[in-house]
């Protein structure tokens, strides 16, 4: 078996609050092979974005700490690197695409200037070399006139074009791992298809390993081989996409799937929402975090924590899986 492009072992994120220390990402492990995409799905506030930023070593909030055994990119542990060493990894080995392409680009520089900045920093080379890499990168994401896009300021482009430019910026140095945090959430369905097409192209042509963070299962179904379901900072189920949709084993995964609106469904049949609310991080139940909302819960679920079998590619953290 080849080594995974991205391999995360025992990652936890703690946040310091006035009420005490809280674990917002709870001991998760996963790996992504080169050329594959893994979706990370879950409701808002379950720790998806925290996980993404923790991998990059970027703490979004003050007082957050990361604990991990290792975070490896192509076999190299990046979790123990100094800030200076980490800077040479960010943008070159691992890059990020953000949710809001409108605000993730600097309004006072052109698209071209911003892409060149990444390439100059990590790949170096002459002025022409940098510019050519920038134009190539824009061409690859599907722009017919890269020169025109390069000269534009972010506010002159539409949301979808900005997101494509953002992908061009993230991939100009051809990183081994790309983390996309809700890359399609703010976009219409046609543009979403364009972005997902790019994510597939990166897997196939560049062998990029992609971690796609989304709350939208249909996005993950269209572009990922594997999927991880996250709830309150824990991974509940890890499997490949096909099996998840054919036969979700965790009751929460099944609940998420039944929440997808079906265009073929009868009018007025309603959407099957999961009952209850995501518990506040301050009031997490002691056992399985999903137990209070779960129709299949037994007393054991409320007292002890079901674990994902460690070291396996697939698994479910449930005492009574479907």
């Amino acid at each position: 078996m080849s080594t995974a492009a991205l391999s995360v072992k025992d990652l936890s994120v703690w946040i310091e609050t006035t009420a005490g220390r809280r674990r917002v990402v709870d001991n998760i492990s996963f790996s992504i092979k080169a050329g594959e995409a893994t979706g990370l799905v879950g409701e808002s506030g379950c720790g998806k974005t925290m996980t993404a930023f923790a991998i990059l070593g970027m703490l979004p909030a003050a007082g957050a700490t990361i604990e991990t055994t290792s975070i490896e990119i192509n076999g190299r542990d990046i979790s123990r690197l100094s800030t200076a060493q980490m800077r040479s990894v960010l943008g070159r080995d691992v890059a990020m695409v953000f949710q809001q392409p409108g605000t993730a680009l600097d309004p006072v520089f052109t698209i071209g200037q911003q892409i060149i900045e990444v390439h100059r920093r990590h790949a170096g080379g002459g002025k022409n070399n940098n510019r050519q890499a920038m134009l190539d990168s824009l061409t690859q994401v599907g722009f017919d006139q890269p020169g025109k896009i390069a000269a534009a300021y972010p506010h002159e482009l539409s949301g979808g074009m900005r997101q494509l430019a953002m992908i061009a910026m993230a991939t100009v140095c051809n990183p081994a791992v790309l983390i996309a945090d809700e890359p399609t959430t703010a976009l219409d369905s046609r543009t979403r298809a364009l972005i997902l097409q790019q994510i597939k192209r990166l897997q196939a042509d560049n062998g990029t390993a992609i971690l796609l963070v989304s709350h939208d299962l249909s996005v993950i179904r269209q572009s990922c081989q594997n999927v991880m379901v996250m709830y309150c900072g824990r991974l509940l189920e890890k499997t490949d996409c096909q099996s998840l949709f054919a036969h979700a084993r965790h009751p929460y995964s099944a609940g998420l799937i039944s929440c997808i609106p079906q265009i073929s469904a009868k009018m007025g049949s309603g959407i099957k929402a999961i009952p209850g609310q995501v518990p506040a991080p301050s009031a997490l139940p002691p056992g399985c975090h999903f137990a209070p909302r779960c129709g299949r819960a037994v007393p054991q679920c409320e007292s002890s924590v079901p674990a994902l079998e460690p070291g396996t590619e697939q698994g479910v953290a449930c005492f009574r899986p479907l």
């Binding site: 800030t83 800077r87 960010l90 949710q99 600097d106 309004p107 990590h122 300021y153 506010h155 910026m169």
Partner: protein, 279 residues
């Protein structure tokens, strides 16, 4: 983006008026520095307190010096004070404000805010007098007093703006491509405050000229030269005696120039407001 800013400024009639006025005064100042205008400001060219005439447009002063020459020279003095004070206080305020904002709620922020608080709490004219006394009548004492006290406003504005901007996603994105924090601050955060700095510069420029006039009037200002403030100080003795030359020339020049700058600052504020085009 600078192109569209220029277009918006050009469309604003008051803005253009302000720009023309400021440009006229700037040309006068440059001509004085180049030795083309106002060189006869020390020369005794007539009788004492001559009235307005073709040879002395604004008459002469107590010593028989031509008031027009002295007014023109005063424009250069005003620009010298304005430019020096604006340049140094804006740079100082921007750097300290940016550092305080970027490292907000750390010891550095505390120190800068404390410094700003201390300086803001000293009565300005007392402070100017103290510095003038401490420097034994050095000709830069007035400039120094203004620079030391004027940066605080700029720093406060820049600090707030940096705190606002650093929460934006593009700052996170800049870190995610591996830029060190200080590079992100100076390359990506500060350029987004340029519109504020330009407007703030014109405001500081006006404040510096106004303050120079007051300090010179009090005898704490210009030491070797002539300024509109010194002319107004002279006129305080003359107006009662019915000689209005100094008073009219200096206050007219001051009024027109300050109005020009205020019109320009106002128009620039509208033209440069990037929030209109950035979502």
């Amino acid at each position: 983006m600078m192109g569209s800013t220029w277009h918006r400024l050009k469309a604003d009639r008051f803005g253009v008026t302000g720009l023309v006025i400021v440009a006229c005064f700037a040309i006068v100042a440059l001509s004085v520095w180049a030795g083309l205008l106002g060189q006869g400001w020390t020369e005794v060219s007539g009788e004492r307190w001559e009235s307005f005439s073709a040879s002395h447009w604004f008459g002469t002063n107590l010593l028989g010096q031509d008031i027009l020459q002295r007014t023109l020279f005063g424009a250069a003095t005003a620009f010298e004070v304005g430019l020096i004070v604006t340049l140094f206080s804006i740079v100082l305020g921007t750097v300290l404000g940016a550092l305080a904002g970027w490292y907000s709620n750390t010891w550095l922020d505390e120190v800068i805010l404390w410094l700003k608080g201390v300086l803001d709490s000293i009565p300005f004219y007392l402070f100017a007098a103290a510095i003038a006394f401490a420097l034994q009548g050095n000709r830069w004492a007035m400039h120094l007093a203004m620079i030391i006290t004027f940066w605080t406003t700029t720093a406060r504005i820049v600090r707030g703006e940096v705190i606002r901007i650093k929460q934006r996603e593009f700052v996170e994105a800049a870190r995610a491509i591996g830029l060190p924090g200080i590079t992100v601050l100076f390359r990506h955060v500060l350029p987004n405050t340029v519109h504020i700095l330009l407007v703030q510069s014109t405001i500081v420029f006006v404040a510096a000229i106004k303050t120079e006039v007051i300090l010179s009037f009090l005898g704490l200002g210009i030491q070797d030269g002539v300024s509109w403030g010194l002319m107004l100080a002279e006129s305080s003795q003359e107006v009662l005696a019915g000689h209005f030359g100094n008073f009219i020339a200096a206050s007219l020049a001051l009024f027109i120039m300050l109005m020009g700058f205020n019109l320009l600052a106002d128009a620039m504020q509208d033209a440069l407001d990037t929030r209109r085009i950035i979502t």
